[in-house]
Structure formats: C-alpha cells, structure tokens
C-alpha cells in the first residue's frame, strides 16, 4: 500500500477506535475497583445526545463535551446509588441502565434529529499539519483524539504509580482487607464509577460531535458492548486496551476497505464477522503465550460490598 493510502486508512481507524477507547478506559477503572457496570451503552448514548444538544444550543463544542461527560456521570450516579449504596446486583442494574438510557436519550433527542452541528475543531499548525504523512497522521486530529491517548498514559500511571491508584486496586482485589485497614471502599468505588460514567459520556460526545457530528436515535449501535469486551481483552491493562481498541477498529475498517477493493470473493457477512473473530483469536493467542495466568479479573469484580460499621 502506498504510504499516502496507508495514512488515509489509519486516519479512519483512529475515528473508529477513539470512542471505544474512551468508554473502555472508563470501564477499566471501574472494574479495577471491583465494580462491573454493564451499562456502558446507556451512559454512552446519553453522553452523545447531551453533548449534541448542548453543542447545538450554545454553539460551543467544548461545552457539549462537558455536557456529555456530566450526563454520563449522572447515569453512573444512578448506578452507584443502586449498586454501591443499596448493594443491588451490578449486572442486572447495568443492563437496566442501558434500557433506561436508550429510552431517555430518544426522548431528549427528539427535537435534534436532522440538524447538523459544527464538528469539533481539528488541530492545524501552519506548516506542520501540511507535512506529508507525518502532518495528517500526528497533527490533524481534534482535541479528543489526543485526549484519548493522554488518558491511556494517565490511567496507566494512576493505577500503577499513584497512591490513590493503589488504593483503588486494593479495593478491587480485596474489599474486606481494604476496609479493615481504614479505606472507605464505597467512596473509592463511587469515584471510580463516576469516572467511568464521565469517560463513557466522553466516548458518546466524540460520536455525536466528531466521528459523525449528528444525532440519531440508537447511534451508539452497540459500541458500549464492544467497549466492555475490550476491557476483558485488555486483561485490565490500559496499554493493552489501546491495542485492543485499535485492533478492533482496525479490522473493522480494513474489511470495509477490502470490500471496496473487490472483497476477495468473501461474502460481506463473513467480512463483518472478522473484527469479532480477530479479537477472540488474538486474546486466545495471548492466553496461550507467556502471559498465561495473568488474565485474571480483579478478585472482587461484581461482588457487592456493604460495610456495616
């Protein structure tokens, strides 16, 4: 493939991977604290509609992004009250959150259908953004794309190096011990859950303001579910999550390009299966390799915790 063509493909992949990366990074932190929130799709779509509505009403993309994050957090707060304060079942609550979010988003978005919005501004550095290959590849995205990479670095650092991150992991691995040495398990988990909501909302905002700057009902089209699967794929490691999001996005895009080029005679439905199959296959290969045994989820994942003191 010519270098220019490769750049174009990569640019498309970035668009497809970024919303997945945001939502999955948030869920990774949530799960690291021992909470399983299956409501990513619901938080994401509410983020998408809120971001769009605010961006259209105020004319400010930045305010839209903030609104998307707040909407995701509001949804996450409902989840938190139910599962953390009231110790409700996390899996069922997450699924209910998705039903609720899909309904609420279509109510909120009804008057915003068919309206375009100014997409988020792309970085443009005179002279540099125009350099062949390097320019478009590194200096032509909008702020959210850079933010998604920064978030990988920051979350990796936070979990591994920071004190708060270590507490968060401790809470996820053994809530009882963490509690007995004086950490407030519920408070830590609330923060993680709200962060997860903000990130899912950010992923939604990216969808409705950058990836496809429009609002349509159900426009997340299952991306929240893929984000959930990617967290498992990553074995709860931010860097591997980056790989997973770009692997899934990459295969999705490549099969579309391949179809455009004639499809190699493979039925289109089979081509559409490839991203899912590739993800399973790569994870299986990783699992069979030298990392075997390091794939375990946080020990307390999904277990409710209720301090009685």
């Amino acid at each position: 493939m010519a270098p220019d063509a490769a750049v174009l493909v990569i640019l498309t992949v970035v668009g497809a991977a970024t919303p997945l990366l945001f939502a999955a990074l948030g869920e990774l932190v949530v799960e690291k604290s021992g909470v399983l929130n299956l409501g990513v799709e619901g938080m994401m779509i509410l983020g998408a509609v809120s971001a769009f509505a605010v961006a259209v009403s105020t004319g400010s993309g930045a305010l839209g992004v903030v609104a998307g994050m707040l909407a995701g957090m509001a949804m996450a707060f409902i989840f938190g009250v139910l599962t953390l304060t009231l110790a409700a079942n996390q899996v069922a609550t997450g699924l209910a959150l998705t039903i609720f979010g899909l309904g609420l988003s279509s109510l909120m978005g009804a008057s915003f259908i068919g309206i375009p919005v100014e997409p988020l501004a792309k970085l443009s550095i005179p002279g540099i953004s125009q350099i062949p290959i390097i320019g478009p590849l590194f200096f032509g995205h909008d702020a959210l794309v850079y933010l998604s990479f920064a978030a990988v670095v920051a979350i990796a650092w936070f979990l591994k190096k920071s004190r708060a991150g270590m507490i968060l992991r401790a809470v996820g691995e053994s809530d009882i011990s963490a509690h007995s040495i004086g950490y407030n398990v519920i408070a830590v988990r609330y923060r993680a859950v709200l962060f997860g909501g903000a990130m899912a909302g950010l992923g939604g905002a990216f969808l409705s303001l950058s990836y496809t700057p429009l609002w349509n009902e159900g426009m997340t089209a299952g991306r929240g579910w893929i984000a959930l699967a990617l967290v498992v794929f990553s074995s709860w490691r931010p860097w591997r999550l980056l790989v997973g999001a770009y692997l899934f996005g990459g295969v999705t895009i490549l099969q579309l390009y391949t179809q455009g080029a004639g499809g190699l005679g493979i039925p289109a439905q089979v081509m559409s299966m490839l991203p899912y199959l590739a993800t399973i296959l790569v994870l299986a290969v990783i699992a069979a390799g030298p990392w075997k045994g390091r794939l375990d989820a946080p020990a307390c994942l999904g277990k409710p915790f209720r301090p009685s003191t």
């Binding site: 409902i78 009231l86 899996v91 959150l97 309904g103 299952g222 089979v270 307390c300």
Partner: protein, 369 residues
C-alpha cells in the same frame, strides 16, 4: 457513602418470607407513583397509561396467553443462565446460542420440509439443544484450557451468530419461492409446535419452559451437582478442597445455559415465527440476564420475573397502542421499574439497626472469574 451515621445497616441472617414477597410489591408501587408523575409531566393521562401498562394486558385470555409466549424464552434462558451465574460462570452470550439453536433446529425442519412425522419436532429440539451447546462450547473450551474470560468470547460470538444466520437466509436457506427475500420456506406442519389453546399462540414450548424451570429447581436444590455448583460460586477454595472439578462444572454450566438457549431458539422458530428470518430474537438473551437476577437466581423466582419482564414489554406496546405513549417513554418507565425492583432487594437482604457489626462482603452470587 453509607446511608446514615446513627443507624447501622447489617445483613439479615434469615430472610423473612413476608419480606421476600412484599418488597417486589413495594417496588411496583413506587414505580407506579413515579410513572404517574412522569406520564403527567409528559402530558399523558397517568391513570389510563398505568392501566394499559399493567392491567389491561392481563384482563383477556388472549393477553395472558401472549404473556406466556413472550415469557417462555426469557424463563428458559434465565434458568440456564442462573445456574451458571451461581457458579460464577458469566455467559452473556445466550443471544448467540439462541440464534445457533434456531439455525440448527431450523435446518432440521427445512431438511424434512416436505415430510411428515411426529419425529421431526423432537429431532429439531435435539438439534437446537446441540446447536446452543456447541456454540457455548467455544467459550467453555477457551475458558477451561486457556483461561480466556467468557464475558468477551460469549459476547463477541453473539454478533458472529447473527451474521452467520444472515449468511444462511440470504444464501443457501433462502426460500426458492420467496422472490429472493431473506427468509426460509415456511416450516411444514410437523415442524411446528402444537398450539395448546385454539385462537392463541400459546404453544407447547410455553409449558415446557415452566417444566424446565421446575427441573432447574430440582437440580439446584436436591442434587449433588447443584450443591457443587453453589459451592463453586460461593466458596471456590472450599470447592477445590472438596475435590470438585472446576473444569467439569464450568463445562456443565455452559452446556446447560447454552443448551437451554438453543432450545429456546428452536421453540421461537418452530412456534411463533414458523420459518428462519434474519433476526430471531428481540434481545431475549440479554433480557434473560436481568430476568435471572430479578428472580434472585432461583428457578421459581425466574418464572415470576420472566412473567413480569414480559408484562413490561407487552404493557409498553399496549400503552403505545392505547394511549400513544412514545416508545422512549415506555423504555424509561421500564428502566425505572427495574431500578426499583433491584433496589428493593436491599430491604430483603439488609436490616437497619443501631448496633455496629463487622463489615463483610456479601456474596449474593456474582463476579467474573
């Protein structure tokens, strides 16, 4: 973020039976109150909306039969999933296993399309169960041999199953007389589940679903295997000491949940649908996860939660038809109902007292891995 500082919350040692029944009622009452104001706020007649949501579907014989038709797959899949959830086996790909079961059962029906015989239907059911099992075997194998988490594999395979079904109905299984539309032939009479009540769609599968729930209850309550599954979920270390094979139990759980989902798929195509079409299920495999937990992972509870969930869907359609509520409003309302139901569990499992107690994690049957 505990509820209060002066009152202490502690788990109940024994759950009073009265509470077990009273709390879901309380949740419904709260939902009704919340719904009342939402409908009022949205400009719809709240009394009429609530009536058509919860009451009118139950008033006719036909309405009740439809409730069974909608609840049957939810109950069957929910029972299978609950057994796995008890052992901490996280099969969230029942949707895909259902689709595979519909395909394998449907292929049998189409293979004997122009034949008659009472053996066709049982053969379809066996094929459906095997199809669902075979599909669940992929996550089972990957989990037991490579320690690959089944949440990812079962979920991803759901998308693959839908695309596989699509490949078939757009290709080899397309009805030769169907003007190139993506659908198979209509099944022959011998491949259709008998209708139990004339004038309704209540098919044999609805009764079998109830029997399966009872069988699930027997398995979990009275057999060694059921005991082992529960121990594996609640105390994996104890299970190891006792010499239970984790691998075998994981396989067993995935085979049960996959097989039941597959059978539910066959029932759908041989019951209310009557042919293979590109999409068999409106999300039964996912909804059944909610049903399993609302039923507190107890097969008999799952019958009730399956019926309630089915009512919430049918009531939502009804409210659209009778009151003109948009689907979005019914979705929000359904979400609220679930929130209240899930939250009400709190009152069952905890009591509020003044005395302090030791903190503890409560294993109400959960986690991954």
């Amino acid at each position: 973020m505990s509820l209060s500082t002066s009152f202490k919350i502690e788990p109940r040692r024994e759950i009073p039976r009265s509470l077990l029944y009273a709390t879901p009622l309380l949740a419904v009452v709260l939902t009704v109150v919340a719904g009342f104001f939402i409908f009022l706020f949205m400009g719809y007649d709240p009394f009429l909306s609530l009536y058509h949501f919860f009451v009118s579907p139950l008033l006719t014989f036909y309405g009740l039969s439809e409730l069974m038709v909608k609840a049957a797959p939810l109950i069957m899949i929910g029972v299978g999933l609950a057994i796995g959830f008890r052992a901490n086996v996280w099969n969230i790909g029942a949707e895909g296993q259902l689709t595979l079961g519909a395909i394998t059962g449907g292929v049998v029906a189409l293979a004997f399309w122009n034949q008659e015989g009472i053996w066709i239907l049982p053969l379809m059911c066996i094929a459906g169960i095997l199809g669902g099992m075979a599909y669940a075997a992929i996550p089972a194998f990957l989990k037991t041999h490579l320690n690959v988490n089944e949440i990812l594999t079962s979920l991803m395979l759901t998308y693959v199953a839908t695309l596989f079904l699509s490949t078939l109905v757009y290709g080899p299984l397309k009805d030769p007389m169907g003007f190139n539309f993506p659908q198979s032939r209509m099944f022959g009479d011998s491949a259709l589940l008998p209708i139990l009540l004339e004038g309704t769609r209540m098919h044999l599968g609805t009764v079998l679903a109830l029997l399966i729930a009872v069988a699930g209850w027997v398995l979990m309550t009275f057999t060694i295997v059921g005991f082992q599954i529960r121990v594996l979920g609640q105390a994996p270390a104890a299970a190891r000491f006792a010499g239970f094979s984790r691998t075998k139990l994981i396989w067993l759980c995935l085979m049960i949940s996959g097989g039941l989902a597959g059978l539910a798929g066959t029932f759908e195509v041989s019951g209310p649908i009557g042919q293979l079409i590109p999409v068999i299920t409106p999300g039964y495999g996912f909804t059944a996860i909610i049903v399993a937990f609302l039923g507190r992972l107890h097969p008999l509870g799952i019958i009730l939660s399956g019926l309630l969930m089915a009512l919430s869907y049918i009531g939502g359609e009804n409210a659209q038809v009778e009151v003109g509520l948009p689907q979005a409003v019914t979705g929000v309302f359904q979400g609220l109902l679930l929130f209240f139901l899930l939250a009400s569990d709190f009152l069952v499992r905890y009591r509020i007292r003044r005395r302090a107690a030791v903190p503890q994690a409560v294993g109400a049957a959960q986690p991954a891995e």
